[in-house]
């Protein structure tokens, strides 16, 4: 599953631009089931961070509860991790990202964690534009509690114990869009190249970047007719773009025909190059993105790629007008007003 990309050090280079080997970006051994989609996403996160030369010490990992939410233990062992409560990752990440504005945030959640119990927090975090990568490892099922339906299960989906699902699915990309998310993507865990490139782009995005990754649960929901299975994914994955991420410190070397590709520049000067594959879609057009997702939902299409990007929204750190020094490191001399100020206040209250 090696994923050669433009940003990876060339040739036989075993170290990235920080001079680190990829193994440095690993985590503990996974305790998920063999073949679980979540594990391949962890591998892609490791790839992306290594390739980008991200300093893991400045990354904070967040998750809720579920098999998916366990995965932050399985990548970036040099990063602080916060395995929070079921559905509450968004609020925790909000607090942490405001407390220290130098951190890069990576959140991993599940479809149950985000779509059911955490739905409100998810929508509000997106609305606030909390600067973080928000990955949903979407398997249409509750893995850790052994196979109940999640809210992303398709109508007609069947599970061993839970039977047949009749309720319409929540489409988390559509939900993110409607909540004014500036970076919305969908991918398939079984498509390593696309996942890695999207992760890299998302990690450079300023604001909440939501990636809904269909990540098969091999134990409870991998029957061929499930839209969240490997075989469905493999046969139905319809990439709208061939995505390539070009970090700010590299030249674009990927070649593409004019007119067939679109370049989107991010705040930090990096670029996303989108080569059109099949249908024509303008990811900078919000209405087009909504329409695409709505169609995909109605027709059970598995379109993947960068659905929407908008660089223009302020993020939460802008809204909060954060100073350069992280709140976490604000010295006491700054945080405790002077004795005189108190005396003055007291006089005003006399």
């Amino acid at each position: 599953m090696a994923t050669p990309t433009t940003t990876q050090p060339r040739g036989s280079a075993k170290v990235n631009r920080l001079g680190l080997e990829k193994s440095i970006y690993k985590g503990l051994d996974s305790t998920l089931c063999n073949g679980c989609g979540h594990d391949s996403i962890s591998a892609r996160i490791i790839d992306a961070c290594w390739e980008l030369g991200i300093k893991a010490e400045y990354v904070a990992k967040f998750s809720g509860i579920g098999c998916s939410s366990k995965s932050p233990a399985y990548f970036l062992s040099r990063s602080h991790g916060f395995n929070s409560l079921h559905g509450r990752m968004p609020s925790v990440a909000t607090g942490a990202m405001v407390a220290n504005n130098t951190l890069t945030g990576i959140g991993v959640s599940g479809d149950g964690d985000t779509g059911s119990i955490g739905f409100g927090q998810f929508k509000h975090a997106v609305r606030r534009n909390v600067p973080m990568l928000y990955i949903i490892e979407n398997n249409g099922v509750y893995g850790l509690t052994k196979g109940q339906f999640s809210a992303t299960a398709d109508v007609g989906q069947e599970l061993k114990h839970a039977g047949l699902n009749e309720l319409p699915p929540i489409d988390l990309c559509l939900e993110a869009l409607v909540a004014d998310c500036g970076f919305v993507a969908r991918a398939f865990a079984g498509d390593p190249k696309q996942v890695t490139e999207l992760l890299k782009a998302a990690l450079s995005f300023k604001g909440t970047a939501v990636i809904d990754i269909i990540s098969p649960c091999v134990t409870f929901n991998d029957k061929d007719d499930s839209t969240k299975s490997y075989s469905w994914g493999k046969t139905h994955n319809e990439r709208i773009f061939d995505v390539t991420f070009v970090p700010s410190y590299e030249e674009i070397t990927v070649d593409y025909d004019e007119g067939q590709a679109k370049e989107v520049e991010l705040h930090d000067g990096s670029k996303i190059v989108l080569k059109k594959v099949d249908r024509s879609h303008d990811p900078t057009n919000r209405m087009a993105a909504i329409t695409l997702m709505e169609q995909a939902k109605t027709n059970q299409l598995f379109v993947t790629g960068l659905i929407y990007i908008n660089n223009d929204r302020p993020d939460l750190r802008d809204y909060e007008d954060l100073p350069e020094t992280p709140l976490a490191h604000m010295p006491s001399s700054v945080t405790r007003p002077s004795k005189e100020s108190l005396t003055k206040l007291m006089q005003g209250m006399m």
Binding site: A56, H80, S91, G95, A99, Q121, H124, L327, M349
Partner: protein
């Protein structure tokens, strides 16, 4: 103008003037703007050097339902609520009959002619005032005219009691921050009303005020402002909250004072962040996330918010993340009486969360202490890496109290045990997040972003080793919980200790806490007058200090005075000192109103009998 004054002399026999020792109740409608008027009276009295306190008994409604504002004037400095008022200012048609009914013989009532009310009692002195007419004469229009009606009673009352006009004027200037445009129409009406009263009213009652010097150096404010200021001087850097009565004004005051005191003068950037969350689950989640990342973080809420915070409180307890939760208690259970006071969340906060969770709770007993515990709570949270609850209540939080000036914190900000990159270098990375290296149960933590390859650890609500790795091993689970209990015992010694007033020869002890302190203090003087000696211990935190036991042992009977239905503190006292349980008695009442000294003293006497 037609004036009607009680002509038959009231049956009061002596008619000695009653000076600086009575209560005034102003009965109005919610949203009628009487707050300004009432605050003006209160402040004017305060500035005349007379001890006062002001309490608003208001409905959970924005406009129209009955509201009573009570001002206690007490030459002896008592600030507790009294059971009755001697002076009624009746401005609400809906309640006037009831309100007058409650007056004792010999008391007085000022009422607006707008009520269409005809006095039915001849043992009370009535003054009817043409409030609407006076307001019309003010020249104000619309809503403002209604407000002017309130200034009419201010003027009349001022005349009758002898409140100095200059103090009224300066009180208005204080409130309106000197904006003449806002002040003037009010002073105009007051003056007019005073004039009118001088001419038209014959004073038939015995109440008056006289200048004293008992408030010099004192301040006047509400407890929620004190809470906010405590946090500001405690170096709070992150606040997440969700609106809820009666806690809302804590966050609002935080916003106000942080902006004022904690904006970087050069960059004009805030050195803090305040976020209105989507609910209380998110509010505490944000605080926990921020505390984990190294901010000094807090939230404020009330009953329903506490319930919603249960899961995160347990999480923060178990993962050992600092957080301060200010609970301005209101009446529960459930939505209860959102605008009435209670001390009903002692047990719920102490044990908040499933499993074996427990939390230190600070119980300030004065406005000054609310300020002090405001900053100390932040220190304690970071020192003990755990949620700290600060429990005040609506009475403290939203009412006007006179208070000693606040003292500037007497020690440096305590950021607790945090390892920096250089510490890790020194330790060669040999550290464990949950390792008890100091014997106090508290481990050392690192903050995300620490630039050292071994700085990271994984925070989880599941069982873990002292290196924060997942563990289900029975011994490791037990060991961790034992350490947490050890830490809790360390906290027992560090939280504010009780304050005692032991009286030699007293068989009776009283234990109290929080906003009931003024009533207890006063009750003790009432009891003393009856020859009943009492000692008093005011507990100021949970877990309870060991000195509670010795206090109980030193007395034959100990009454735990509190304002809740289930005698929650009494239960905790018994739990900590079961061997003394037979001496411990419940003296609790919970009807939404602050306790009164009379109730405490009479109930105690009844129980003694």
């Amino acid at each position: 103008m037609a004036v009607e004054v009680q002509t038959k002399p009231a049956p009061a026999p002596s008619r000695e003037p009653i000076v600086n020792d009575f209560s005034i109740t102003i009965a109005t409608k919610n949203g009628s703007g009487s707050q300004t008027a009432n605050a003006t009276i209160l402040r004017a009295l305060f500035k005349m050097g007379i001890p006062v306190s002001g309490k608003n008994i208001f409905p959970s409604n924005i406009q129209g339902l009955p509201t009573w504002y009570t001002i206690r004037v007490s030459k002896d400095g008592f600030t507790a609520r009294k059971d009755e008022s001697e002076i009624l200012i009746a401005m609400n048609k809906a309640t006037v009959i009831d309100d007058v009914q409650k007056l004792k013989p010999g008391t007085m009532c000022i009422y607006s002619d707008g009520l269409g009310y005809t006095p039915q009692r001849d043992d009370v002195i009535f003054y009817k005032i043409p409030a609407a007419k006076m307001a019309a004469a003010s020249g104000l229009e619309g809503k403002l005219r209604g407000y002017a009606e309130n200034m009419a009673y201010v003027g009349v009352l001022a005349h009758l009691l002898g409140i100095e006009y200059v103090e009224l004027e300066s009180a208005l200037n204080h409130q309106f921050k000197g904006k003449t445009k806002a002040v003037e129409p009010n002073t105009k009406t007051i003056k007019m009303a005073m004039e009118w009263a001088k001419v038209e009213l014959t004073k038939a009652d015995s109440y008056r005020v006289e200048r004293m010097d008992k408030t010099t150096g004192m301040i006047m404010l509400d407890g929620n402002t004190a809470s906010a200021l405590g946090a500001v001087y405690g170096g709070v850097t992150f606040v997440a909250w969700y609106p809820i009565t009666p806690a809302t004004s804590v966050a609002e005051a935080l916003g106000y004072y942080l902006k004022q005191l904690r904006t970087n003068p050069e960059t004009k950037k805030p050195t803090y962040s305040v976020i209105q969350a989507e609910d209380e689950l998110a509010a505490l989640g944000m605080v926990v996330g921020a505390g984990w990342a190294g901010a000094r973080a807090m939230t404020s809420t009330s009953g329903p918010g506490i319930s919603l915070m249960a899961e995160f409180a347990g999480y923060a307890y178990f993962t050992e993340i600092p957080a301060v939760i200010v609970n301005v208690q209101r009446m529960g259970p459930s939505t209860g009486l959102p605008t009435r006071t209670s001390q009903g969340d002692i047990l719920p906060c102490y044990f908040l969360g499933h499993g074996d969770s427990k939390h230190p709770c600070l119980l300030p007993g004065s406005i000054k202490e609310i300020f002090e515990f405001g900053w100390r709570a932040l220190d304690l949270a970071e020192r003990f890496q755990t949620p700290i609850f600060v429990l005040t209540d609506l009475d403290f939080g939203m009412n006007q109290w006179m208070s000693e000036s606040f003292e500037y914190p007497d020690r440096e900000i305590d950021r607790g045990k945090v390892l920096k990159a250089e510490d890790l270098e020194r330790l060669k990375g040999n550290w464990g997040r949950y390792r008890d290296v100091d014997g106090d149960g508290i481990g050392w933590r690192t903050l995300p972003g620490t630039d050292h390859p071994l700085a990271a650890y994984f925070t989880r609500g599941t069982g873990h080793t002292d290196r924060a790795t997942y563990s289900e091993k029975p011994e490791e689970w037990e060991g961790n919980l034992e350490r947490l209990n050890r830490k809790f015992e360390s906290a027992r010694k560090e939280v504010p200790a009780p304050i005692e007033d032991r009286v030699t020869g007293a068989e009776i002890g009283i234990i109290g806490y929080g906003s009931t302190d003024p009533a207890i203090v006063e009750a003790r003087t009432l009891l003393a007058k009856k020859g009943i000696k009492t000692s008093y211990m005011r507990v100021r935190a949970l877990p309870l200090s060991e000195s509670v036991g010795s206090f109980i042992r030193a007395h034959d009977r100990v009454y735990v005075v509190e304002m809740n239905t289930d005698a929650q503190m009494a239960q905790l006292v018994k739990l900590d000192t079961p061997e003394l349980a037979a001496r411990i008695f419940h003296l609790n009442k919970n009807d939404g109103l602050p306790l009164t000294a009379r109730w405490i003293s009479e109930s105690l006497q009844k129980m003694e009998a």
